[in-house]
Amino acid sequence: MKVKSLADLKKIKAEVQGKIKLREQGENADKIVQIKVAMATCGIASGAKEIMSYMIDELDFRGVDAIVSQTGCMGYCYAEPTIEVIVPGQSPVVYGFVNKEKAKEIIEKHIVKGELVDGIIPVTFKTIDE
């Protein structure tokens, strides 16, 4: 088995560098979608890690320019895993009970086509204490 080392990074670096230059020259630089995966104890225990990995791989596979990152608990522990999708120029949307199928649907419909998908947690939602 050939074990990967940092020396192997050079090839991938060159490939990525070329793509970044293309992106900077393009018109879409300010149109990057942001996805935040709630990754606190509640999220992790419900499978948020797998969803985040899936989102990164799937968006890269489809060539969608997006930043996938983690956030803390948004207070929707009952609905984990939850993700927040921020499309530039639109209000942020939080989806609950996101499994792989739902994540795929969100990428296909919401992020690529701009259509909202079932499973949105309304912004008017309040916890018992509020």
Binding site: M1, V3, K4, S5, L6, D8, L9, K10, I12, K13, E15, V16, Q17, I20, M39, A40, T41, C42, I44, A45, K49, M52, S53, I56, D57, L59, D60, I67, V68, S69, Q70, G72, C73, M74, G75, C77, T127
Partner: protein, 183 residues
């Protein structure tokens, strides 16, 4: 949580929330002396003595979105099930060190699982943080340092999806080579 790597992902979020700029994870496998050690060290804001005593309390949290904070207590419970324990030391302004000891051979010790995934998701989310991951087995040692990766990348973002995928494979390959016990 089924895997130790999930606990580690969870505990490191505490370091991130403490504004750490450097987070070091060290895993030491020692089957002969029946020990499996996990140490997480950060240079975050640290806590005072009174707060330190509350950290293992599942009803203590600094979050305002909910009233429980179960990350550390779940991890501690998991360690104690194998006869091990979790120790935390902290100094305000300097950082916090959490060390968990597990019995290596105990039937209740959860598997480490996808630690490469844990590290790379953290790097993807917090590219500005300096992560160090050391894994020691009786066979050999593996050392991973994001500063070394960044030096090699010369300005190409470390959180690019292709780089992250490569780093995950690199960690997995090396862990396999040193005979890390992940399952």
């Amino acid at each position: 949580m089924q895997e130790l790597s999930l606990h580690i992902l969870d505990i490191i979020q505490n370091s991130v929330r403490a504004n750490a700029t450097k987070i070091e994870l060290t895993v030491t496998e020692n089957p002969k002396s029946d020990q499996y050690l996990i140490v997480i060290n950060d240079n975050g804001c640290g806590v005072d003595k009174e707060t330190l005593e509350l950290l293992c309390d599942p009803f203590y949290t600094t979050r305002t979105t909910r009233k429980v904070g179960m990350g550390i207590s779940l991890f501690k419970h998991s360690a104690e099930q194998t006869g091990g324990t979790v120790d935390i030391t902290s100094e305000k302004g300097k950082g916090t060190c959490l060390s968990a000891s597990f019995s290596f051979n105990h039937i209740d010790r959860p598997a480490m699982g996808d630690i490469a995934g844990t590290m790379t998701l953290l790097i993807a989310s917090y590219p500005q943080i300096h992560f160090i991951y050391n894994h020691h087995t009786p066979l050999s040692d593996f050392e991973f340092d994001t500063n070394e990766v960044k030096a090699e990348l010369e300005g190409v973002p470390i959180n690019n999806a292709k780089i992250i995928k490569f780093l995950k494979e690199l960690i997995n390959d090396n862990l396999e080579m040193i005979g890390a016990n992940l399952k």
